[in-house]
């Protein structure tokens, strides 16, 4: 099965041609495996990355990430195109991750929030020239960020990852997780506030939340 052909066409053309994804979805509804392979190629990294951050164990995360695409293939006829395909795909991913977490009955640690001046940071940042916009992050900091994200509830974690990691808009996230836009904003704010409390030593000097 020449799944790679689609990937080559996507990479050479740069951004997907207008309507190209729509045509792929139409072909997928005809059970076109090659077309679905192209969609997998396009979204596998994003879905895999999202699920890896939502589900702690790697083996389980890989299984869930596969399940996302299997569910998408099984239910492609139900996709009506009113939302973006990415939104629909992440909706499946978020629901599967939350379902898996509920089955395991995970109880994340609660990080107490205090609103007010928390005083100076306890430690200097590991690199004074550190720019969070650069892809490379110090290993220790990376682990602490991952641990802080894992400490969030699934509801807060999913919104944080969909917005800050995957770049979905408030409206897209609202459609994906099935809550109002206002709730998305509340959850995003709370998730970031939790992370800020957990990562105080990496924040710049000054007021905390």
């Amino acid at each position: 099965m020449e799944i790679a052909l689609g990937a080559i066409r996507l990479s050479r053309s740069g951004a997907a041609e207008p309507g190209f994804e729509d045509s792929l979805v139409r072909r997928c509804k005809q059970r076109d495996a090659e077309a679905f392979g192209m969609l997998v190629e396009r979204y596998q990294s994003r879905v895999y990355g999202f699920v890896r951050h939502m589900v702690r164990e790697q083996e389980e995360a890989e299984d869930v990430a596969q399940e996302v695409f299997i569910k998408a293939f099984q239910n492609i006829e139900r996709f009506d195109g009113r939302a973006a395909f990415a939104t629909w795909l992440f909706k499946i991913a978020a629901n599967l991750c939350i379902d898996r977490a509920r089955r395991k009955d995970r109880r994340p640690e609660v990080v107490n929030l205090t609103y007010g001046d928390s005083g100076p940071a306890e430690h200097e940042p590991p690199d004074s020239k550190f720019d969070p916009h650069i892809a490379a992050i110090a290993n220790e900091m990376e682990k602490e960020i991952e641990a802080a994200i894992q400490s969030l509830s699934e509801k807060l974690r999913s919104v944080l990852l969909l917005h800050d990691l995957e770049g979905l808009s408030y409206e897209e996230i609202a459609g994906a997780v099935g809550v109002p836009v206002g709730t998305v904003k509340s959850r995003l704010f709370l998730a970031r506030a939790h992370l800020q409390s957990a990562l105080t030593k990496y924040m710049a000097h000054g007021e905390a939340l």
Partner: protein, 159 residues
């Protein structure tokens, strides 16, 4: 409007006022919030392995195969095919047999009358069955009884 009170409302999932929502929108764009967002954005993106991708392709092909499996089994499994044909034949034979042995579906008044007259005619057979000249045949009216009026829609006045 105190930030701590708004935080408590957010934690409890309580609705915010317009002013509180405006405060929330402003906070989402604050330096601290954006810094945390950049920490998350800076995380390395785990990529799926080739083995993961191969396993996924296998599962997708199996999904496609499920839809086609019925007809493939018909083509590739003689036992399955012959069982299906035998079952279909048995159903067909049963339907044909039931149709052939079913009674006359339509009964009407004319038919009932004809049967009655035949029955009446058969009662006129001579006792010894030898002299058949007076034998009443179908179509001949038998001697009518006064009670025939009751049987055939008459009235008690005839009695």
């Amino acid at each position: 409007m105190k930030p701590q009170e708004i935080m408590e409302k957010l934690e409890k999932g309580m609705p915010l006022s317009r002013e509180e929502s405006a405060w929330l929108d402003a906070q989402l764009e604050s330096e601290e919030q954006n810094r945390v967002a950049s920490f998350v954005q800076g995380l390395p993106a785990p990529t799926p392995s080739l083995a993961w991708r191969a396993s996924l392709e296998e599962r997708i092909l199996r999904e496609i195969g499920k839809k086609r499996s019925f007809w493939r089994r018909f083509e590739t499994n003689p036992l399955f095919a012959s069982s299906l044909v035998a079952a279909a034949a048995a159903v067909l034979i049963a339907v044909v047999w039931m149709k052939s042995t079913s009674p006359e579906p339509a009964l009407n008044a004319e038919k009932i009358m004809e049967w009655h007259e035949e029955a009446v005619a058969s009662a006129s057979l001579p006792g010894d069955g030898v002299n058949m000249e007076g034998f009443a045949t179908t179509g001949q009216q038998g001697k009518r009884d006064d009670t025939d009026g009751l049987l055939y829609g008459g009235s008690l006045h005839s009695l």
